[in-house]
């Protein structure tokens, strides 16, 4: 095993372990904090897989913005900070069965389909800010603009939803 493979395996173990803690811990805030570890390790995997710009965007948007939004939502919904037993009370067994089936199906499919394919990271094109920016703003301009319209719609929707009722026309 080369050192790239060792780093990849370690990051994968951190990702999967902390993801398991995200979905099983009985502290609400700990769940959000383990999510930070998971997303950070995924950003590390992106770096190993030669996607440099995506990794930094992952750190900025996910670890920065999304987790802070989640923590704000936990705070605004008066989430208790202590241990809570009934977070995953009733549907643990069916959820575990469905998740195991989904995981088995996906894992068997991808391993059977791509067992012989090598991932040659030495010759992969590193997705630096320059190469990613060039491809986004030359080849993928139309999806980019559509995405900005989508973001605007989401912004307007969030404002409309979170406006207080009982106003002039609401």
């Amino acid at each position: 095993m080369t050192w790239v493979q060792v780093i990849f395996v370690l990051l994968s173990l951190v990702t999967l372990g902390s993801a398991l803690l995200v979905v099983t811990t009985s502290h609400l805030v700990h769940s959000a904090l383990w999510l930070v570890v998971t997303l950070g390790a995924v950003a590390g995997i992106f770096l190993v897989l030669a996607a440099e710009f995506v990794a930094w965007v992952q750190v900025l948007i996910y670890v920065g913005a999304v987790v802070v939004l989640l923590l704000f939502a936990l705070m605004l919904t008066k989430a208790p900070t202590g241990r809570q037993e009934e977070l995953t009370a009733r549907r643990v067994v069916p959820a575990a069965v469905v998740a195991t089936l989904v995981g088995l199906l996906l894992a068997v499919t991808v391993v059977a389909g791509f067992r012989d394919v090598r991932l040659d990271l030495d010759r992969a094109v590193v997705g630096s800010a320059e190469t990613t920016g060039t491809s986004v703003f030359t080849l993928w301009v139309l999806p980019f603009e559509v995405l900005s319209v989508l973001l605007l719609a989401a912004l307007v929707g969030a404002i409309v939803l979170s406006r207080l009722r009982g106003g002039d026309d609401a």
Binding site: F8, S12, T15, L16, A19, V22, V23, L28, S31, L35, L39, V42, I45, F46, L49, A51, V54, V57, I61, Y62, V66, L69, L70, A73, L74, L76, T77, K78, L87, A89, R90, R91, V92, A95, A96, A99, T100, V102, G103, L106, A107, V110, V111, F114, V117, L119, D120, L121, A124, V125, S135, L139, W140, P143, L147, L150, L151, A154, A158, L161
Partner: protein, 110 residues
């Protein structure tokens, strides 16, 4: 490294996300499961981009687009969660049954 290593990690991460989204009762924790699933998809995109040595960088670009869509989704979803909390006083997804399809005997068309 073999290509199936990152694909296997993505599959397991997706399964963990499915478990989180299905088993949690708090709506914010359900959203965290959804985020895990979106990250698994991004992992697949990036792995195939590196394997195919895509000159268009379609995989990495689409991973960026998925991140943006996830940000929009989480913003809207948290607005909905806060609205639900304001009207119901809780965000337990099991107890939100206003839209459930019940068999009401006295249903009449208006």
């Amino acid at each position: 490294m073999p290509l199936w290593w990152p694909l296997l990690v993505a599959s397991l991460l997706f399964a963990i996300g499915v478990y989180g989204a299905l088993s949690r009762r708090n709506a914010v924790l359900v959203l965290m499961g959804v985020e895990l699933m979106l990250n698994a998809v991004n992992l697949n995109f990036v792995a195939f981009d590196a394997q195919l040595r895509d000159v268009l960088h379609g995989g990495q670009t689409f991973a960026l687009f998925v991140i943006v869509i996830a940000a929009a989704e989480i913003g809207l979803a948290l607005a909905i969660v806060l609205l639900v909390f304001r009207t119901h006083g809780h965000i337990e997804v099991d107890d939100l049954r206003e839209l459930a399809d019940r068999d009401e005997p006295s249903r009449t068309d208006a």
